[in-house]
């Protein structure tokens, strides 16, 4: 290439770039003065259904509030918390921040969030206690849930009918059914146990229903829950791959007919309906007849990062409008969640009876951060490592949880 041509190309490249390059740079935050208001929002729903649900909500919100515009940013699920923390450190959080509900406690403890009572009057009695506890820190409300979800058992009706089985009610039933339904490429039971919070989440219904707790992970009740899982995998009634499956993979296994029973949540309902599988939903089986299932409470919450009173008030408009029963129902329908606001929840379940079991369980559901507060992530990580060790066979359930207990005690002292 001749020297002239080379330099010419470089010059073009450079000049062609200067235009877009200098566009779009702004300092963080800031709403314009005057009537028009811009709200910045951040969430982790880059994919559907969350993405479409949020887009629809924002569209209707902006239509109803012509002077407010919402600028939405999405980040991958695994990066939201770290991103939010980085921004919190430099006081550049968006006006509205979505969080996975177990993260709220830790975040509120930093003082980065604004308590809602300074500009809102919320009738707490109209909300389910469990979900409301997820957004309560030191007695104050720091956000409101978009909606909640939990876990239940979804089973393949045809496989059950073919094998002449009835849906399981107790752990013994579940083990027997799983055994009977395992053949060929089909496993009786499928759950999710990857190296993330998803494992703890999937484990908690069994742990808590049996009467165990994360704080006392080496109690006999806690160990009994782990033994249930370990038995499933060791006997081959659940695939070893559970160690690398996310709940989305579990759903795929079920849809493809590779699992007769799965543990999953209401957000899978749209996929389940499309799959063509004749499925049924039952509550989490209990160790002994008469006990009630205690599922963990999932779902996301919207919070207001602390800033100027005016901005906080504007941000509140966004959340308040979402909590209007009609809007709440619409967005929960899109997510396939259940509202925490009782009248809306009841209405939604009437319209969609498939949510029945999930909604019922919500009443006895428990916030994951209960008693552990901002130490929950640390403890969760210790527990999921221990569960994996037992499932992989590198430790017995007793040893795995005894070691975990030591680590938890140590971690809580720091």
């Amino acid at each position: 290439m001749k020297k002239r041509t080379f330099l010419f190309v470089v010059a073009i490249l450079f000049s062609g770039l200067t235009l877009p390059v200098f566009a779009g740079g702004q300092k963080e935050g800031g709403t314009s003065a005057g009537q028009a208001v811009t709200l910045t929002e951040m969430d982790y729903w880059g994919g559907d259904p969350g993405n479409s649900a949020m887009k629809a909500y924002i569209a209707s919100f902006e239509a109803a509030h012509p002077n407010i515009k919402v600028e939405r940013t999405t980040v991958p699920f695994g990066n939201l918390l770290s991103k939010a923390l980085t921004q919190a450190a430099s006081h550049s959080l968006p006006d509205i921040l979505e969080l996975d509900n177990p993260d709220l406690q830790a975040f509120a403890s930093t003082g980065a969030l604004a308590p809602l009572d300074s500009f809102a009057n919320i009738d707490k009695s109209k909300y389910y206690a469990g979900p409301l506890s997820t957004v309560t820190y030191e007695g104050k409300l720091y956000g409101l849930p978009v909606g909640n979800n939990d876990l239940a058992i979804i089973y393949n009706k045809k496989m059950f009918a073919d094998a002449g089985l009835t849906p399981p009610k107790t752990w013994e039933d579940l083990l027997a059914d799983a055994k009977a339904l395992t053949h060929g490429t089909t496993y009786g039971f499928a759950f999710s146990a990857p190296t993330t919070e998803e494992l703890t989440w999937q484990f908690e219904p069994w742990l808590w229903t049996a009467g165990g707790t994360l704080r006392h992970i080496d109690s006999p009740e806690s160990i009994s829950a782990l033994k249930l899982w370990v038995t499933m995998v060791q006997k081959g009634w659940a695939s070893k791959s559970v160690l690398n499956w996310e709940q989305a993979n579990v759903e795929q296994q079920f849809e493809n007919g590779y699992a007769a029973i799965q543990e999953n949540g209401p957000w899978q309902l749209p996929l389940l309906k499309k799959s063509g599988v004749d499925f049924g939903i039952i509550p989490i089986p209990v160790p002994k007849e008469g006990m009630s299932p205690v599922p963990p409470l999932g779902g996301e919450v919207f919070t207001i990062p602390a800033s100027t009173p005016q901005k906080e008030k504007n941000a509140w408009t966004f959340i308040a409008w979402m909590q209007q029963p009609d809007n709440l129902i619409a967005i929960n329908k899109a997510f396939s969640y259940i509202p925490a606001y009782i009248p809306a929840a009841q209405k939604l379940v009437q319209e969609n009876p498939l949510l029945n079991v999930f909604a019922d369980e919500l009443k006895t559901g428990r916030a994951r951060t209960l008693n552990l507060g901002q130490n929950y992530p640390k403890v969760s990580q210790i527990v999921w490592s221990a569960v994996q060790a037992a499932l992989a066979g590198t430790a017995t359930p007793e040893d795995a949880f005894k070691q975990a207990q030591q680590q938890i005690d140590q971690a809580l002292k720091e």
């Binding site: 450190a89 070893k240 992989a392």
Partner: protein, 306 residues
């Protein structure tokens, strides 16, 4: 070579100071990209830096407590072992396979240049892409690797590549090797083709066979290149992070947790930033030691080459 300075006319000595301007942008860059982050990380490792401190910027000074906690954590031993296995395994095999490929391609044949080019592709794919693809291939139930092995009757049951603790580490190493082979191959190939052919001719006249030629001619001639390939590979392997995060997240049961992934987990899962920073500093210190060795071997010169 006489010093350029002494031959310069007097009036131009003042020009020297403005020559530093050539370096100014890069000095700024070094501050941004090296000095400042290093400073932050070091100070953070001496503070009790929880989530509240992260947000407020104020954290109590706790001396060596983070380092003590991290070193007395039962995970530390396992993580260090994993790191050593991962690093040595990756580098050894990347190097050996790279060398074999380089030797293979040293023989000119039609199409060899094209094939060599194609082999560079793994090195150029975004890590997220490579790691995700390997994650599928290693899947226990529907991974193509298990399928191949079973079809070839090499295994009777599918192997849990990413879900069995020992195998998981191996799988992660294999993926890392795949990513690193091209870099090794190209460097070694470049060295191989510059060894004078006469050496080999003289040796074969003396009756040396292939293995002896390799051992007594090829290796010594490549001594400098080999050392550098190994050093750079080491330093870049210590930084590996994305690959493991995507493949196994550090599990199952911490069996693929290495220092870099553990540092991230401490900071962003446990929200103990001080401890995460402490582990990060251990990593940097190790890199520093090896980079000193590298500087020795590469014989960094400080003036115009001659």
């Amino acid at each position: 070579m006489s010093s350029f300075h002494s031959r310069r006319p007097r009036s131009l000595r003042s020009a020297h100071r403005y020559r530093l301007l050539f370096l100014l942008p890069i000095l700024v860059d070094i501050v941004i990209v090296f000095v400042y982050p290093l400073y932050t990380n070091i100070t953070m490792s001496f503070e009790k830096y929880g989530i509240a401190a992260f947000v407020s910027g104020r954290a109590p000074f706790v001396g060596l407590k983070n380092y003590i906690d991290v070193f007395s954590n039962p995970l530390m031993g396992k993580t260090v072992v994993n790191t050593i296995l991962f690093t040595v395994g990756s580098i050894a095999l990347q190097f050996i396979l790279g060398m074999l490929l380089a030797l293979f391609f040293k023989r000119r044949f039609a199409g060899s240049q094209l094939l060599r080019t194609l082999l560079l592709i793994p090195w150029l794919l975004p890590l997220i892409v490579s790691a995700t693809t390997f994650r599928w291939m290693f899947d226990h139930t529907n991974g193509i690797i298990n399928q191949f092995l079973q079809n070839l009757h090499l295994i009777s049951q599918p192997l849990g590549w990413l879900i069995t603790p020992n195998l998981a580490l191996l799988s992660v190493i294999v993926t890392n090797i795949w990513i690193g082979i091209p870099f090794n191959m190209v460097l070694l190939y470049g060295g191989l083709v510059s060894i004078p052919e006469e050496y080999y001719e003289a040796a074969s006249i003396d009756g040396a066979n292939g293995v002896q030629s390799f051992w007594y001619i090829t290796i010594p001639s490549l001594r400098e290149i080999i050392t550098i390939v190994l050093m750079l590979g080491l330093i870049y392997t210590l930084k590996v992070f994305d690959v493991i995060r995507v493949l196994t997240g550090g599990g199952p049961a911490n069996s693929t947790q290495i220092l870099s992934t553990w540092s991230y987990a401490l900071s962003f899962t446990d929200l103990s930033f001080g401890q995460g920073a402490a582990v990060g500093n251990v990593l940097i210190a190790v890199s520093l030691i090896f980079s000193m060795i590298y500087l020795r071997v590469a014989k960094i010169t400080t003036g115009p080459a001659r």
